[in-house]
């Protein structure tokens, strides 16, 4: 699934491995003096618990809309040349990329600021959820702010 309004912004969802090199290459611009790539990866250890794998599920149409809105807001706030955001869906093994954000800008300061803002906002508002498949055989949807009385066997 993919969205692109202008060539400057591209947001997408994929059930395949995220091609971080392609995402990075897609934001190349002759106006850029800084190119930033953030890759979020699936973590094996959270506190004292061990994760075997994760499953990501999304409200796909709205997730793309929301990613597009965030990229538009970032491009309005910082002088970005190009922005690309991709999120993984489905079953994801430990250590793989679950999200990638790449952008280019004339200078590094705005690139770092915009990149941090985009991943922070994505984690706040883009309707995608992960389910932890714990090594002990239980699984659990992650809903920050809700108590974790939600475990089920898998």
């Amino acid at each position: 699934m993919e969205h692109s309004t202008e060539e400057t912004i591209r947001v997408s969802l994929t059930e395949n491995a995220i091609d971080t090199e392609a995402i990075l290459a897609s934001v190349a611009s002759p106006r850029a003096g800084a190119v930033l790539l953030f890759v979020g990866t699936t973590r094996e250890v959270t506190g004292d618990r061990v994760t075997e794998s994760l499953d990501y599920s999304g409200y796909q149409e709205m997730a793309l809309e929301e990613m597009q809105r965030l990229a538009d807001r970032a491009a309005a706030r910082w002088p970005l040349s190009r922005v690309a955001m991709e999120h993984r869906l489905g079953h994801v093994a430990i250590g793989e990329a679950s999200v990638a954000i790449a952008l280019s800008a004339p200078h590094r300061k705005e690139a770092f600021e915009a990149g941090e803002w985009l991943i922070d906002q994505l984690k706040e508002s883009v309707p995608i959820w992960k389910r932890e498949n714990w090594a002990d055989g239980t699984c659990e949807w992650v809903h920050p702010g809700l108590s974790s009385s939600t475990e089920t066997s898998h």
Binding site: G40, Y56, S57, G58, Y59, E61, M62, A63, E65, E66, H87, S98, V99, I119, L122, K123, E124, S125, V126, P127, I128, W129, K130, R131, W141, V142, H143, P144, G145, L146, S149, T150, T152
Partner: protein
């Protein structure tokens, strides 16, 4: 009355045992009314209760937003992408 299908995701979907629940509301109902009616109708959703947001036509909606004319309504539990 209007009959509004509400899409459910993640834990909310598991709790309700359905991808979608249809709620009957008066024409002048708002998102706040939907919230009350939905949790009355499906008590199991109480576990995601006060933290959920609603989206109308793929945008987050305030409690005051009227539902008449809404094409797509969804319950959005706290998100955990990234």
């Amino acid at each position: 009355m209007q009959h509004i299908p509400v899409q459910l995701f993640a834990l909310a979907r598991d709790l309700a045992g359905a991808e979608q629940v249809t709620v009957a509301l008066p024409e002048e109902a708002t998102v706040a009314d939907l919230r009350v009616r939905l949790f009355d109708q499906v008590p199991a959703l109480g576990a995601v209760g006060d933290k959920v947001r609603f989206a109308v036509d793929q945008q987050y909606a305030s409690d005051e937003m009227p539902l008449s004319g809404a094409r797509e309504v969804a319950l959005i539990p706290p998100v955990s992408g990234g």
